[in-house]
Subunit: 336 residues, 2 copies
């Protein structure tokens, strides 16, 4: 109800003075400033957001696209990340809007809708692809953004990511050191950067050990995808004795496949993401996770720095991946 004009009128001051008093400018006397502040407080005055946005040419909004493609918007801890991110952004006066991508619409279109309508000052991108058209578009428009996950873009852009290559290489080497020789990989869709790089990590380790890299099956990054991929590997003439899975959800699907296949419980398994439910599967799922505190807040702070104009090269965070030791990777390597 209360706007600047009414407030100014009731105080016998100009709109300008009231506005500047509330913004703490020095060209209004301390006494007046205080008087204005009290009146504003009493009237419950809050500046009209739309008006300020129009005038300041800033939307005070950031959007994150939610890929809804595979029936699932994202891993369960994803909401925690968004929440932490939104909370951090709020301290800078930015609100986070979630932009789900309806069936039949491309993520690019959603980006454009927000950017071209000047509805947002910046974007947050998740589930990046190796060649990601959203990244290309935003770069061409000069809109600040940060991705969760890298891309193969030639022009550098801000990102935060886990070092999937090192993580999956280390996990594979760990299995090798434990005596495994037939180590399979359950891969995610290779157009996603994370899936590709995790697979390359596994592959590198296998080659270092002089092992064949044919025990690899690809599936959707969901429980069902992991289930089907695992069945495929278990049908091989010489079964794997260990499975390195691109995600926990896939690993849980693989566990189900293992249960169904005779002798499957002998097979070691490890996933990635540290889903909380992994602690309650049987056996409890060993996994990997990105190191670092509060991913969401970091994500937000990178974005704020991008908006402030810091160069992309300074805004790239690659976090180490740590192993989470539970039970599912402890099966002994069965004799060939």
């Amino acid at each position: 109800m209360a706007n600047l004009k009414q407030l100014a009128h009731s105080l016998g001051l100009s709109i300008t003075t009231v506005s500047r008093a509330l913004d703490g400018y020095s060209d209004v006397s301390a006494a007046t400033r205080e008087r204005v502040r009290e009146a504003a407080e009493a009237a419950g005055y809050r500046p009209n957001a739309s008006a300020r946005r129009l005038r300041k040419q800033r939307a005070e909004l950031v959007a994150v696209t939610l890929p809804s493609d595979p029936g699932h918007v994202g891993p369960p801890h994803f909401l925690d990340m968004l929440s932490g991110c939104a909370e951090h952004l709020a301290t800078a006066g930015l609100n986070l809007v979630i932009a789900p991508v309806p069936r039949g619409v491309s993520e690019l279109e959603i980006c454009q809708r927000f950017v071209d309508g000047r509805r947002v000052d910046a974007m947050l991108l998740v589930r990046t692809k190796r060649k990601d058209e959203r990244v290309e578009y935003l770069q061409s428009r000069g809109i600040p953004f940060v991705t969760n996950g890298r891309t193969e873009s030639l022009i550098p852009h801000p990102f935060i990511d886990g070092d999937g290559f090192a993580g999956f290489r280390a996990a594979t080497l760990r299995f090798h050191a434990a005596g495994h020789r037939r180590i399979g990989h359950i891969a995610g869709p290779q157009e996603y950067y994370f899936a590709h790089v995790r697979r390359r990590g596994w592959q590198a380790a296998m080659e270092e050990c002089g092992l064949a890299t044919d025990l690899c099956a690809e599936g959707a990054p969901l429980e069902q995808g992991g289930y089907l991929a695992a069945l495929e590997l278990l049908r091989q003439p010489s079964r794997p004795t260990a499975l390195v899975c691109a995600t926990d959800e896939m690993a849980i699907g693989a566990l189900r496949a293992l249960r169904e296949v005779d002798g499957g419980s002998q097979i070691s398994i490890v996933g990635h993401d540290d889903l909380s439910m992994g602690a309650f599967t049987s056996p409890p799922l060993s996994t990997m996770r990105m190191t670092g505190e509060n991913l969401g807040a970091t994500f937000a702070s990178l974005l704020l720095r991008a908006i402030a104009g810091e160069p992309a090269e300074d805004l790239q965070e690659l976090h180490a991946i740590e192993f989470v030791d539970r039970d599912s990777h402890r099966r002994p390597p069965v004799a060939a």
Copy 2:
């Protein structure tokens, strides 16, 4: 870049005409309308959202507060719900912003911040309490809103909720019919409506069966809360033979407690929410879930109708709860 003024100038028309042509008004000739449309398309024109919002006195935004209190923002499927909701709202030109509540700030304050700054046209509320100050505030301000979960507000308001009373009563009676006599309840914090009503459902069934209602322990609505509450019940001189748990997360904690306590695996258990991880616990967790398609879209459509001015009484949906049959409720009732 492109705005109405530039577009109008390049077409040799007035701003008014261009604006009205794009909005499809009949007072601009079909020929002009088409010419304008093409030019707008070619220029990639999108109306400036802030300007329209200011002029139309609508924020085109809806916020949902995310309770971050217990370290956890909400059940895992919560994001799916929000995503479906945002998608549906988008068809009406509304975007959904997520408003996490930082530590030390009340949910009410967050509501006020959005409402008083006219940053939103309406609010979505989740995790309602029996006496919910957010509801009172929004009612007093006349802001449209819908809650996920009921409240004890005397003034009716739009909501969508599951019939926890009937669901928990039915589940308890099911245990009774299977021969159980000492049926415990692991309750959530009673200030939450859902927790209270679920407990009352259990209690009603127990009383109908002439059983004592002292086997009840309360905890935080998380794995840990369920774990502690279950331990408490298992310490009783005469242990329960079955546990009805307010949420799946609590039930999973209870399962852990059961594993740790001698003979615990004899105890039947059921939760509520149908978390996907419940299918992978051992034993797989029997549970309950609200019936109905796409909660998020329903939530959104109730809100749109509330914004359109439909009376609250017509916007209250109470959905039946169905039992999800897995393994954890099949333990035989041990003799007393």
